[in-house]
Symmetry: C2
Amino acid sequence: MGIHGNATCVMNYDGATGWLLGEEHKGMRAMFTMMNEARLGVGLQGYAQAEIAYQNARAWAKERLQGRDPLRRADNAGPTADPLIVHPDIRRNLMDQKAFVEGARAFAYWAAMLIDRSRRQGDAEAEALVSLLIPVLKGFLTDRGFEMTVAAQQIFGGHGYIEETGISQFVRDARIAMIYEGANGIQALDLVARKLPLQGGKPFMAFLEEVKGTIRAHEDDADIRASVLEPLKAASKDLQAAAMLFMERAAKAPQDALAGATDFMHLMGHVCLGLMWARMAAAARRALAEGRGDRAFLEAKLATARYHAARVLPATALHLARIRAGGETVMALPPEAF
Amino acid sequence: MGIHGNATCVMNYDGATGWLLGEEHKGMRAMFTMMNEARLGVGLQGYAQAEIAYQNARAWAKERLQGRDPLRRADNAGPTADPLIVHPDIRRNLMDQKAFVEGARAFAYWAAMLIDRSRRQGDAEAEALVSLLIPVLKGFLTDRGFEMTVAAQQIFGGHGYIEETGISQFVRDARIAMIYEGANGIQALDLVARKLPLQGGKPFMAFLEEVKGTIRAHEDDADIRASVLEPLKAASKDLQAAAMLFMERAAKAPQDALAGATDFMHLMGHVCLGLMWARMAAAARRALAEGRGDRAFLEAKLATARYHAARVLPATALHLARIRAGGETVMALPPEAF
């Protein structure tokens, strides 16, 4: 399917001699010492494949002439066609990609900074927070990153399915990031079963506090309050409601958290990117007010933040609805009914 | 990427002689005479790839031993592992696939029956209805069908990314169905710009009437009213609201329908599968009451209908929220800002 530059083989251990590394029955713990960095690396692969796919798709959308602008040329007159980028459905697709890749890049930088603070400054709070965020970063950026390569491929139409344009390789290569370094179902399980209850929920509360602090710091700015901050507040309330629900049902219906784990990981991923977009929007507003930087770049950041809030963040309500539905319908069938 | 059994080549028409088929400037219309059947065929490919991928994934989930049942064996005792299918997140994934493939199969049969009624009995209403449904069937079944092959591949873990298991081929082959016979963005455009306003909206009203009629016919059955019919009613209200919104904004903001076209196609696709599940649930209830058929099979149908209503249908609210957000944020950036 992909990563053909990587030498992959089956290793057969039948009849091999094994040596014990570390203490007996502590293997998982030993492995987890390298996990945060490795999983950040794979999350970055999800983002990076989406980024290169987006760069290719936007170039194609500007260059490729196909169909007529439905908003300006309803008369179907004239012999020439318009570039793909004039079509609202192509634009929607590109905006989805742009909102994802720029948000994901910021999220990965934030996590890397938290790892630095933990390693170089011995910051225990940063370490706890990044331990909570890593399964979200790995699972969400690779699931969504793959989706975005598929979206980018779609912009190429028939040219997306031939090898000449190179776009299908990003799809094929991105697919493995959802699987290796712990399949995303395992990331979701790690999040709800290990990271959420960590230190009595302290890192999770610290994350919600990061969101609230960002909203509080900028809510005087009417220009981004309604269009960026309030949707983020609604999304983070969905996240909090989902976590509360898992806690309340933990004793009576432990399957609810397990059956809702993937939805929770995605819900939290959307809030993470919403937080990044709120911070980027606030920074852009500040720079614009102070007359610093490239005006067009800063205004594009603001417009993309608004797009993310209006058309991506509402996904949190769907994930919460699925979580609220509980695990009963998920586990209703006996295995032999499949 | 895929369909390697298909001989694909570039055909170059530079310097070739062309002959006119039919009347001048009526080419599109001539092509559309074969479109309904061709698009039903490609929609079926989306369903069929999901079906074979599901059949492979459920077999793997029952056979492959990995991890311990988190609900029954929290003590981590014993040397053996449990089959994947005991894990709630694997079960959620399999239920998503099962709810899709059985619903999609029914949807494709229904469309084929409407084509038969139109061809063999000259039923003009059936023809209008199937003309409305075809872009939904092609776009939704191939978008979701591809997603389901990806979900099936995920169940294989690392084995999903090697060619030995055969599962990656379904993903690679399914991808093209979203592109050919009119890329899915074109299906969405055909739906909102041509099919929805067809005959002053009559076929669309007839579709909504099919949904209402099914709900009315079975709402006395308390066992499926709350769990299957009411969620379908809510989903079809979302669909109606989206269509009304396009109509209201058609003059002032024509970009809203174009920017919301893909969301509308998916919203309607979910309602179509919800309608199929309501009918299958009602048929299962009737057979159970009359003591006909295989009890386990009929009860699995009911449980899957409930899963679809609880965990899949809520997606209509997300599509409506995106449509309500309008086209402004979609079109806010100038092309050079990408």
